[in-house]
């Protein structure tokens, strides 16, 4: 079978194709080819209202890449729109009594992502490396369901929203 390294490369290509679909939607208001480095993302941020990107190198999830971009540009808020409603205390697909966490610290996020072993944290919407980065730089995060666009409006206005708010716990 294919090596894990090659699977990572294939996964990166898949996220880049998604990014291209976005950039084709935004046309000249966005970079065309998805950025390949965090530095390039920062540069495009000075030039285009919308910046699209996917994976960059094997070993980095798109979560980690976007957390690094947030860190590089000194972002005030990291918004993660995803397929679930937020961060749960346990895997909601396995545990009926899993509870959505409305407000946690980046430290709690980090502990949750690695609970039960690194690779086992797959129910998490944010992966461990991204959690490390968000925690070490104390970046505020909002995690919400991407299919409900009202959420995004509320988040950007600083209002209450359905999902999880993650607050810095003081950096490393």
């Amino acid at each position: 079978g294919a090596s894990q390294y090659h699977l990572d490369l294939i996964g990166i290509e898949a996220t880049r194709m998604n990014a291209l679909l976005l950039s084709s939607y935004f046309g000249e208001f966005s970079n065309g080819e998805p950025f390949r480095t965090v530095e390039e993302a920062a540069l495009y941020g000075e030039l285009y209202p919308v910046v699209v990107g996917g994976g960059t190198v094997p070993g980095h999830s798109t979560d980690a890449v976007s957390a690094l971009v947030a860190e590089r540009v000194g972002a005030e808020l990291f918004v993660n729109l995803t397929a679930v409603d937020g961060v749960y205390d346990r895997d909601p697909r396995k545990h009926e009594d899993a509870r959505l966490l409305e407000k946690i610290s980046t430290e709690e996020l980090l502990r949750l992502t690695v609970s039960g072993g690194f690779s086992a944290g797959t129910h998490m919407v944010i992966d461990p490396l991204a959690a490390v980065i968000l925690h070490r730089s104390g970046i505020k995060c909002a995690v919400a369901n991407g299919s409900k666009l009202d959420n995004l409006k509320s988040i950007l206005r600083g209002e209450e929203f359905a999902g999880t708010l993650i607050l810095p716990s003081g950096g490393v």
Copy 2:
């Protein structure tokens, strides 16, 4: 809708993903990431027994890219394994009496690819830009059905094969 330029980018990404599937099969006997330039392809050809690649830049088909690689390295034979049985005198999907051509010149190939207007030549297994390159450099080509592996053996041994042999007509 998406611009044609972006559609090209998306198409390139799709061919690169196919290339990655191949490279994950060959592992350390192949370059991992598909080459991004013809020059890089030539360099990998000095290092790995198998070189994988897909599209490189918008405006170039994978046919054109591989014809350029053949030109760069002075290849003696260009083998195109594809989903049909070879080059036909007319579109076999539209014309029941379409005839498979067993032996043609690169000049005939070129004429066929642009007959009826450039963009209309979509039944052809080789696109016009690739045909220009193969013709201008007088590169011998074999076109055959990729699902019949015996064809490849025959081609590489210089024996008769089911498909189309394209011979140089003297270059430009």
Copy 3:
């Protein structure tokens, strides 16, 4: 003799040298080194009032490169200043009765560039690959003699000009 691939590389270098002459004229109002990719051209377009470039990769004419840039940035008008007065119905150097075409569609342009075989279209001011791109994206073009600067003024003002106006025929 040199391979066609190497001749392409040499031709690219020659167009880059011309581009450098332009950029040395515009100094800090232009990128210094000619762009190497269409994406880079788009990025420079956000930063400099004048963007200079030449050929990029073997197999692409400068016509094709600039058509791709026009496609990438969503240009409204593609202006081609050249050494002849516009697009003719046949090669004016061979046929005394060749007629300058004042207004054609991109489809007619495409048919003209490939008439008589792909490689034979050398009397055309726009090459076939560029014609494909202009046609597929429905980009309006103006072709005029570059030695008469009044033409450029008229073109940019949307007035009548001596040359050929090429109108989109509806895209692919």
Copy 4:
């Protein structure tokens, strides 16, 4: 103060400087400039008997980079020469009764690196991301004190050595 992102960049530069000291020792038997990507490392591996490198991008430790290189080239053994004697069950600087582990599985390695929270695993000689990679690809590892060169000889000969042997636990 400096952002964590910039601190990562500075740390990368420091590891690259160490790599340059190595490459200056090996001269023409090594790449001069440290590799910048895993793919480049694989390519240099085909050309030079010694390949030097350091950090590549923010978010990746040198452990993770070398684990990815091992994964890319299908390495049979990953050797980590370091400043301590191997992998301990707890931090030997804090716990007098910490025990050197002579043989563990990659799964145990992974659990150890994330025990007590991701960022707290700083007594570990291998970081969590590297552990994930070594575990997911089932790569055998030897960790030993780099100041005792006899260890390296024993490791390369497949003999017993003073340190920790990490065996694949079956992949993910």
Copy 5:
């Protein structure tokens, strides 16, 4: 010992690390990774109020790199803040009677930098290649002690300052 080429590479890495310390101070108001080419420096100059960089390639001092950047962007003034008080007529560390030069031409600068043989000019605050560039393009320079920030204010206001003013002598 290490080759001079590798020592150059190590020296470049050291200047890049200094540049990173600066960029970590300026955060999002500066490029993060130091530029790698003069062209990249010019591009960053269009995007960030502060541009940081160090050495680029073996054989080029940071003096030469910054002189080339000044040349590329058509700078009116080249400011060199350094550890000494300006340009002396002879090495002040060896000669007690060395005299600080308040105003010289770029031609005199050039002669001073190569006096006594190229490699012997080590007491000079500007190296010969930078001097060649400043002279050939007639770029005005101010050299002053970097530890006295009032100097910088005076220089930027076009007032008198403690140090050396170097005026173009008419170019080559």
Copy 6:
């Protein structure tokens, strides 16, 4: 007029075009596109019997580039085939009594290249930056007229030749 920086860029492009003429002659026995960095030159040296290149960055002559490549790969001999017969003690186009120097040290070479001011050394076959590099690394050089191919044979065999032999004077 054009800036000196742009003139450098144009000069670089001209030398790259010469390099392409060479590479088109050697075909697949040489890199196609001229190398862009010294590191790339070293890498091509492991892959092709002939490596072609020209200028790389503004501020570096082709002399300097090739001296750096010699330094990078630890070359035993640096051969400079040129349009004159060797190194003279003064400009042979201005002084009838100029004398060809049969054997000099790299230190003498350095002194000659900067005599009478840096920019005035234009009668020299090797420029000052290249001389600095050859001197600092103690690289043996042979300078001879390129139009007499017998010279090259003699040089490569280590026999006497018509031209100038430059011997290391002990490094810096």
